[in-house]
Symmetry: C2
Subunit: 174 residues, 2 copies
DNA sequence: CGTGGCTTTGATCTCTGTCAATCGCGGTGG
DNA sequence: CCACCGCGATTGACAGAGATCAAAGCCACG
Protein backbone atom coordinates (compact mmCIF):
# COMPACT_ATOMS: atom_id res chain seq x y z
CA UNK A 1 0.00 0.00 0.00
CA UNK A 2 2.98 2.28 -0.17
CA UNK A 3 5.50 3.17 -2.81
CA UNK A 4 9.19 3.50 -2.16
CA UNK A 5 12.07 4.77 -4.17
CA UNK A 6 15.80 4.19 -4.15
CA UNK A 7 17.34 4.75 -0.76
CA UNK A 8 14.09 4.62 1.14
CA UNK A 9 13.81 2.67 4.31
CA UNK A 10 10.56 0.90 3.98
CA UNK A 11 7.73 -0.70 5.72
CA UNK A 12 8.38 -0.68 9.43
CA UNK A 13 4.85 -2.03 9.52
CA UNK A 14 6.28 -5.34 8.49
CA UNK A 15 8.06 -5.73 11.78
CA UNK A 16 5.33 -7.70 13.44
CA UNK A 17 5.29 -11.45 13.82
CA UNK A 18 2.01 -12.41 12.19
CA UNK A 19 1.96 -9.55 9.71
CA UNK A 20 1.57 -10.58 6.12
CA UNK A 21 3.86 -8.48 4.05
CA UNK A 22 3.91 -8.08 0.34
CA UNK A 23 6.83 -6.54 -1.45
CA UNK A 24 7.00 -6.03 -5.16
CA UNK A 25 9.92 -4.63 -7.09
CA UNK A 26 9.20 -2.68 -10.25
CA UNK A 27 12.76 -2.58 -11.39
CA UNK A 28 16.02 -4.18 -10.45
CA UNK A 29 16.27 -3.75 -6.72
CA UNK A 30 18.35 -4.86 -3.85
CA UNK A 31 17.22 -4.55 -0.34
CA UNK A 32 18.75 -4.94 3.02
CA UNK A 33 16.73 -6.41 5.81
CA UNK A 34 17.34 -5.34 9.35
CA UNK A 35 15.91 -7.94 11.68
CA UNK A 36 15.27 -6.12 14.88
CA UNK A 37 14.26 -9.29 16.63
CA UNK A 38 17.78 -10.54 16.28
CA UNK A 39 19.10 -7.91 18.62
CA UNK A 40 16.24 -6.97 20.91
CA UNK A 41 18.50 -5.32 23.41
CA UNK A 42 20.15 -2.93 21.07
CA UNK A 43 16.87 -1.21 20.41
CA UNK A 44 16.49 -0.27 24.00
CA UNK A 45 20.11 0.57 24.53
CA UNK A 46 21.38 2.18 21.39
CA UNK A 47 20.03 5.67 21.39
CA UNK A 48 21.16 6.56 17.90
CA UNK A 49 19.55 3.46 16.45
CA UNK A 50 16.32 4.03 18.32
CA UNK A 51 16.22 7.63 17.28
CA UNK A 52 16.74 6.68 13.66
CA UNK A 53 14.05 4.01 13.88
CA UNK A 54 11.69 6.54 15.34
CA UNK A 55 12.47 8.95 12.58
CA UNK A 56 11.80 6.33 9.94
CA UNK A 57 8.58 5.14 11.50
CA UNK A 58 7.47 8.69 12.00
CA UNK A 59 8.03 9.57 8.38
CA UNK A 60 6.06 6.51 7.43
CA UNK A 61 3.18 7.64 9.62
CA UNK A 62 3.09 10.95 7.80
CA UNK A 63 3.26 9.28 4.44
CA UNK A 64 0.55 6.74 5.14
CA UNK A 65 -1.66 9.33 6.80
CA UNK A 66 -1.49 11.52 3.73
CA UNK A 67 -2.43 8.53 1.65
CA UNK A 68 -5.34 7.92 3.97
CA UNK A 69 -6.75 11.28 3.04
CA UNK A 70 -6.23 10.50 -0.61
CA UNK A 71 -8.21 7.31 -0.40
CA UNK A 72 -10.84 8.58 1.97
CA UNK A 73 -11.79 11.90 0.48
CA UNK A 74 -10.58 12.34 -3.07
CA UNK A 75 -12.41 11.24 -6.17
CA UNK A 76 -10.76 9.41 -9.03
CA UNK A 77 -9.51 12.42 -10.94
CA UNK A 78 -8.09 13.99 -7.82
CA UNK A 79 -6.32 10.80 -6.82
CA UNK A 80 -4.77 10.44 -10.24
CA UNK A 81 -3.60 14.02 -10.35
CA UNK A 82 -2.14 13.63 -6.91
CA UNK A 83 -0.41 10.48 -7.98
CA UNK A 84 1.02 11.98 -11.14
CA UNK A 85 2.40 15.01 -9.34
CA UNK A 86 3.70 12.89 -6.53
CA UNK A 87 5.60 10.66 -8.92
CA UNK A 88 6.88 13.68 -10.82
CA UNK A 89 8.33 15.08 -7.60
CA UNK A 90 9.77 11.80 -6.57
CA UNK A 91 11.17 10.26 -9.70
CA UNK A 92 10.67 12.82 -12.42
CA UNK A 93 13.49 14.57 -14.20
CA UNK A 94 13.25 18.18 -15.25
CA UNK A 95 13.27 18.69 -18.98
CA UNK A 96 12.60 21.79 -21.09
CA UNK A 97 8.92 20.96 -21.52
CA UNK A 98 8.21 20.09 -17.90
CA UNK A 99 8.85 16.93 -15.92
CA UNK A 100 9.56 13.62 -17.58
CA UNK A 101 8.56 10.56 -15.62
CA UNK A 102 9.25 6.93 -16.26
CA UNK A 103 6.75 4.83 -14.40
CA UNK A 104 7.41 1.10 -14.35
CA UNK A 105 3.94 0.29 -13.07
CA UNK A 106 1.05 -1.40 -14.79
CA UNK A 107 -2.35 0.25 -14.77
CA UNK A 108 -3.40 -2.39 -12.32
CA UNK A 109 -0.59 -1.53 -9.94
CA UNK A 110 -1.51 2.12 -10.05
CA UNK A 111 -5.16 1.35 -9.57
CA UNK A 112 -4.31 -0.81 -6.64
CA UNK A 113 -2.30 1.95 -5.07
CA UNK A 114 -5.05 4.48 -5.59
CA UNK A 115 -7.94 2.30 -4.56
CA UNK A 116 -9.42 2.25 -8.06
CA UNK A 117 -9.43 -0.34 -10.79
CA UNK A 118 -7.32 -0.55 -13.89
CA UNK A 119 -10.01 0.46 -16.37
CA UNK A 120 -10.91 3.52 -14.35
CA UNK A 121 -7.29 4.58 -14.15
CA UNK A 122 -6.98 4.21 -17.89
CA UNK A 123 -10.07 6.29 -18.47
CA UNK A 124 -8.94 9.01 -16.13
CA UNK A 125 -5.55 9.09 -17.77
CA UNK A 126 -7.46 9.70 -20.95
CA UNK A 127 -9.25 12.64 -19.41
CA UNK A 128 -6.01 14.06 -18.04
CA UNK A 129 -4.48 13.73 -21.46
CA UNK A 130 -7.34 15.69 -22.99
CA UNK A 131 -6.81 18.42 -20.44
CA UNK A 132 -3.30 18.88 -21.88
CA UNK A 133 -1.74 18.98 -18.43
CA UNK A 134 0.09 15.76 -19.12
CA UNK A 135 1.39 14.15 -22.28
CA UNK A 136 1.46 10.38 -22.30
CA UNK A 137 4.40 9.16 -24.29
CA UNK A 138 3.83 5.47 -23.71
CA UNK A 139 2.00 3.39 -21.15
CA UNK A 140 4.99 3.78 -18.85
CA UNK A 141 6.23 7.27 -19.67
CA UNK A 142 4.64 10.63 -19.39
CA UNK A 143 5.49 14.29 -19.38
CA UNK A 144 3.95 16.74 -16.95
CA UNK A 145 3.49 19.95 -18.85
CA UNK A 146 2.22 22.10 -16.03
CA UNK A 147 2.98 20.61 -12.67
CA UNK A 148 1.51 23.51 -10.73
CA UNK A 149 -1.82 23.20 -12.45
CA UNK A 150 -1.75 19.46 -12.09
CA UNK A 151 -1.03 19.64 -8.41
CA UNK A 152 -3.75 22.17 -7.86
CA UNK A 153 -6.25 19.59 -9.01
CA UNK A 154 -5.49 17.39 -6.05
CA UNK A 155 -6.79 19.14 -2.96
CA UNK A 156 -4.48 17.46 -0.51
CA UNK A 157 -1.65 18.71 1.59
CA UNK A 158 1.29 17.70 -0.51
CA UNK A 159 3.74 15.77 1.61
CA UNK A 160 6.47 16.81 -0.77
CA UNK A 161 9.44 19.01 -0.47
CA UNK A 162 12.79 18.17 1.03
CA UNK A 163 11.53 16.90 4.34
CA UNK A 164 9.44 14.16 2.79
CA UNK A 165 12.10 12.93 0.48
CA UNK A 166 15.62 12.06 1.49
CA UNK A 167 16.13 9.47 4.15
CA UNK A 168 19.01 10.99 5.99
CA UNK A 169 19.22 10.68 9.71
CA UNK A 170 16.93 12.64 11.92
CA UNK A 171 18.00 16.20 12.19
CA UNK A 172 17.03 16.49 15.83
CA UNK A 173 13.82 17.49 14.33
CA UNK A 174 11.23 19.83 15.37
CA UNK B 1 -8.33 10.18 10.61
CA UNK B 2 -7.64 7.91 13.52
CA UNK B 3 -9.47 6.97 16.65
CA UNK B 4 -7.87 6.73 20.04
CA UNK B 5 -9.03 5.44 23.37
CA UNK B 6 -8.06 6.09 26.95
CA UNK B 7 -4.37 5.69 27.58
CA UNK B 8 -3.39 5.81 23.96
CA UNK B 9 -0.48 7.84 22.82
CA UNK B 10 -1.68 9.53 19.74
CA UNK B 11 -0.76 11.13 16.53
CA UNK B 12 3.00 11.23 16.19
CA UNK B 13 2.12 12.50 12.75
CA UNK B 14 1.40 15.82 14.33
CA UNK B 15 5.00 16.34 15.17
CA UNK B 16 5.83 18.28 12.07
CA UNK B 17 6.08 22.03 11.89
CA UNK B 18 3.60 22.88 9.18
CA UNK B 19 1.27 19.97 9.82
CA UNK B 20 -2.31 20.92 10.41
CA UNK B 21 -3.65 18.82 13.20
CA UNK B 22 -7.20 18.33 14.22
CA UNK B 23 -8.13 16.78 17.52
CA UNK B 24 -11.65 16.16 18.67
CA UNK B 25 -12.70 14.73 21.99
CA UNK B 26 -15.88 12.68 22.12
CA UNK B 27 -16.03 12.61 25.87
CA UNK B 28 -14.32 14.26 28.77
CA UNK B 29 -10.66 13.96 28.02
CA UNK B 30 -7.39 15.20 29.28
CA UNK B 31 -4.28 14.99 27.26
CA UNK B 32 -0.65 15.52 27.85
CA UNK B 33 1.47 17.03 25.15
CA UNK B 34 5.08 16.08 24.81
CA UNK B 35 6.86 18.69 22.78
CA UNK B 36 9.84 16.94 21.34
CA UNK B 37 11.14 20.13 19.85
CA UNK B 38 11.71 21.44 23.34
CA UNK B 39 14.44 18.91 24.04
CA UNK B 40 15.92 17.99 20.70
CA UNK B 41 18.97 16.44 22.24
CA UNK B 42 17.20 14.01 24.49
CA UNK B 43 15.75 12.21 21.51
CA UNK B 44 19.15 11.35 20.23
CA UNK B 45 20.61 10.59 23.59
CA UNK B 46 17.97 8.97 25.68
CA UNK B 47 17.71 5.41 24.44
CA UNK B 48 14.65 4.48 26.44
CA UNK B 49 12.76 7.50 25.20
CA UNK B 50 13.73 6.89 21.61
CA UNK B 51 12.79 3.25 21.85
CA UNK B 52 9.41 4.15 23.26
CA UNK B 53 8.86 6.75 20.57
CA UNK B 54 9.73 4.20 17.95
CA UNK B 55 7.32 1.76 19.48
CA UNK B 56 4.52 4.31 19.45
CA UNK B 57 5.17 5.45 15.91
CA UNK B 58 5.46 1.89 14.77
CA UNK B 59 2.12 0.95 16.26
CA UNK B 60 0.63 3.95 14.54
CA UNK B 61 2.03 2.79 11.22
CA UNK B 62 0.34 -0.56 11.64
CA UNK B 63 -2.90 1.04 12.65
CA UNK B 64 -2.99 3.53 9.82
CA UNK B 65 -1.90 0.92 7.29
CA UNK B 66 -4.77 -1.31 8.28
CA UNK B 67 -7.09 1.62 7.87
CA UNK B 68 -5.63 2.23 4.45
CA UNK B 69 -6.79 -1.18 3.36
CA UNK B 70 -10.20 -0.47 4.79
CA UNK B 71 -10.59 2.70 2.79
CA UNK B 72 -8.96 1.44 -0.36
CA UNK B 73 -10.55 -1.92 -0.85
CA UNK B 74 -13.67 -2.42 1.22
CA UNK B 75 -17.16 -1.41 0.24
CA UNK B 76 -19.55 0.35 2.58
CA UNK B 77 -20.97 -2.71 4.27
CA UNK B 78 -17.54 -4.15 4.83
CA UNK B 79 -16.20 -0.94 6.27
CA UNK B 80 -19.08 -0.64 8.66
CA UNK B 81 -18.79 -4.25 9.82
CA UNK B 82 -15.12 -3.73 10.34
CA UNK B 83 -15.78 -0.60 12.30
CA UNK B 84 -18.41 -2.18 14.49
CA UNK B 85 -16.22 -5.15 15.35
CA UNK B 86 -13.24 -2.92 15.89
CA UNK B 87 -15.11 -0.76 18.35
CA UNK B 88 -16.51 -3.81 20.07
CA UNK B 89 -13.00 -5.11 20.65
CA UNK B 90 -11.73 -1.78 21.76
CA UNK B 91 -14.43 -0.33 23.94
CA UNK B 92 -17.11 -2.98 24.15
CA UNK B 93 -18.04 -4.75 27.35
CA UNK B 94 -19.00 -8.40 27.38
CA UNK B 95 -22.57 -9.01 28.39
CA UNK B 96 -24.68 -12.19 28.29
CA UNK B 97 -26.10 -11.39 24.86
CA UNK B 98 -22.81 -10.41 23.21
CA UNK B 99 -20.83 -7.18 23.31
CA UNK B 100 -22.33 -3.94 24.44
CA UNK B 101 -20.82 -0.82 22.95
CA UNK B 102 -21.35 2.80 23.79
CA UNK B 103 -20.27 4.93 20.88
CA UNK B 104 -20.16 8.67 21.51
CA UNK B 105 -19.86 9.48 17.82
CA UNK B 106 -22.31 11.08 15.47
CA UNK B 107 -23.12 9.40 12.18
CA UNK B 108 -21.13 12.09 10.54
CA UNK B 109 -18.07 11.35 12.64
CA UNK B 110 -18.31 7.69 11.78
CA UNK B 111 -18.84 8.44 8.13
CA UNK B 112 -15.84 10.69 8.16
CA UNK B 113 -13.70 8.02 9.70
CA UNK B 114 -14.84 5.43 7.19
CA UNK B 115 -14.67 7.61 4.12
CA UNK B 116 -18.43 7.55 3.60
CA UNK B 117 -21.15 10.05 4.33
CA UNK B 118 -23.63 10.19 7.17
CA UNK B 119 -26.65 9.06 5.20
CA UNK B 120 -24.85 6.07 3.81
CA UNK B 121 -23.69 5.04 7.25
CA UNK B 122 -27.21 5.33 8.51
CA UNK B 123 -28.52 3.19 5.67
CA UNK B 124 -25.89 0.55 6.17
CA UNK B 125 -26.60 0.46 9.88
CA UNK B 126 -30.16 -0.24 8.87
CA UNK B 127 -29.05 -3.18 6.75
CA UNK B 128 -26.83 -4.51 9.51
CA UNK B 129 -29.75 -4.28 11.87
CA UNK B 130 -31.90 -6.29 9.51
CA UNK B 131 -29.22 -8.95 9.36
CA UNK B 132 -29.68 -9.42 13.11
CA UNK B 133 -25.94 -9.39 13.73
CA UNK B 134 -26.23 -6.19 15.69
CA UNK B 135 -28.99 -4.66 17.77
CA UNK B 136 -29.10 -0.89 17.83
CA UNK B 137 -30.30 0.29 21.20
CA UNK B 138 -30.00 3.99 20.48
CA UNK B 139 -28.06 6.13 18.04
CA UNK B 140 -25.06 5.82 20.33
CA UNK B 141 -25.42 2.33 21.76
CA UNK B 142 -25.46 -1.03 20.16
CA UNK B 143 -25.11 -4.69 20.96
CA UNK B 144 -23.11 -7.06 18.83
CA UNK B 145 -24.96 -10.34 18.90
CA UNK B 146 -22.50 -12.43 16.93
CA UNK B 147 -19.11 -10.82 16.78
CA UNK B 148 -17.54 -13.69 14.87
CA UNK B 149 -20.08 -13.46 12.10
CA UNK B 150 -19.83 -9.70 12.06
CA UNK B 151 -16.07 -9.77 11.79
CA UNK B 152 -16.20 -12.32 9.02
CA UNK B 153 -18.05 -9.78 6.91
CA UNK B 154 -15.05 -7.48 6.88
CA UNK B 155 -12.37 -9.19 4.83
CA UNK B 156 -9.47 -7.42 6.43
CA UNK B 157 -6.69 -8.57 8.68
CA UNK B 158 -8.00 -7.52 12.05
CA UNK B 159 -5.33 -5.54 13.86
CA UNK B 160 -6.90 -6.57 17.13
CA UNK B 161 -5.79 -8.71 19.95
CA UNK B 162 -3.59 -7.74 22.84
CA UNK B 163 -0.72 -6.42 20.80
CA UNK B 164 -2.79 -3.73 19.11
CA UNK B 165 -4.37 -2.52 22.28
CA UNK B 166 -2.51 -1.49 25.39
CA UNK B 167 0.15 1.11 25.11
CA UNK B 168 2.66 -0.23 27.54
CA UNK B 169 6.32 0.14 26.80
CA UNK B 170 7.93 -1.89 24.11
CA UNK B 171 8.49 -5.42 25.20
CA UNK B 172 11.81 -5.80 23.46
CA UNK B 173 9.66 -7.03 20.70
CA UNK B 174 10.71 -9.63 18.28
C1' DC C 1 2.59 -14.41 -38.75
C1' DG C 2 0.29 -15.98 -34.62
C1' DT C 3 -0.02 -15.68 -29.57
C1' DG C 4 -0.37 -13.69 -25.01
C1' DG C 5 -0.32 -9.80 -21.96
C1' DC C 6 -1.54 -5.23 -21.06
C1' DT C 7 -4.23 -1.23 -22.36
C1' DT C 8 -7.98 1.12 -24.15
C1' DT C 9 -12.79 1.65 -25.08
C1' DG C 10 -17.72 0.62 -24.77
C1' DA C 11 -22.14 -0.84 -22.49
C1' DT C 12 -24.32 -1.53 -18.43
C1' DC C 13 -25.21 -1.91 -13.55
C1' DT C 14 -24.52 -0.98 -8.67
C1' DC C 15 -23.25 1.69 -5.02
C1' DT C 16 -22.67 5.89 -2.95
C1' DG C 17 -23.28 10.97 -2.76
C1' DT C 18 -26.46 14.69 -2.92
C1' DC C 19 -30.65 17.02 -2.01
C1' DA C 20 -34.75 17.19 0.43
C1' DA C 21 -38.46 15.79 3.49
C1' DT C 22 -39.64 13.69 7.78
C1' DC C 23 -39.06 11.79 12.23
C1' DG C 24 -37.49 11.54 17.14
C1' DC C 25 -35.89 13.49 21.01
C1' DG C 26 -34.12 16.67 24.43
C1' DG C 27 -34.13 21.38 25.93
C1' DT C 28 -36.46 25.84 26.51
C1' DG C 29 -39.79 29.09 27.51
C1' DG C 30 -44.50 30.26 28.24
C1' DC D 1 -47.30 20.68 31.89
C1' DC D 2 -47.13 21.44 27.27
C1' DA D 3 -46.12 23.65 22.75
C1' DC D 4 -42.19 24.94 20.25
C1' DC D 5 -37.61 24.68 18.51
C1' DG D 6 -33.40 22.73 16.79
C1' DC D 7 -30.22 19.16 16.00
C1' DG D 8 -29.21 14.72 14.54
C1' DA D 9 -30.94 10.47 12.51
C1' DT D 10 -33.62 8.27 9.14
C1' DT D 11 -35.74 7.65 4.75
C1' DG D 12 -36.71 8.55 -0.12
C1' DA D 13 -35.71 10.10 -4.94
C1' DC D 14 -32.39 10.81 -8.09
C1' DA D 15 -27.91 11.54 -10.42
C1' DG D 16 -23.15 10.42 -11.04
C1' DA D 17 -18.90 7.96 -10.33
C1' DG D 18 -16.80 3.91 -10.53
C1' DA D 19 -16.97 -1.35 -11.00
C1' DT D 20 -17.81 -5.08 -13.91
C1' DC D 21 -18.11 -7.57 -18.10
C1' DA D 22 -16.88 -7.84 -22.71
C1' DA D 23 -14.69 -6.61 -26.97
C1' DA D 24 -11.24 -4.65 -29.48
C1' DG D 25 -6.43 -2.59 -30.09
C1' DC D 26 -1.30 -2.60 -29.47
C1' DC D 27 2.96 -4.42 -29.02
C1' DA D 28 6.66 -7.55 -27.87
C1' DC D 29 8.14 -12.02 -28.54
C1' DG D 30 8.61 -16.55 -30.27
Amino acid sequence: MSLSGPGDTLCPAAALQGADVWLEAFSAASLCELDLSAHPRSIGENAALSAELFHIAHRQVRYVSAHLVTLGRLDGMERVCFFLTDMAWRIGVKVPGGWRVHLPLSREDIADYLGLNAETVSRIFGRVKKSKLVTFLSPTDYLVNDIEALQSRAPVAAPHGPEMLGSTAMQARP
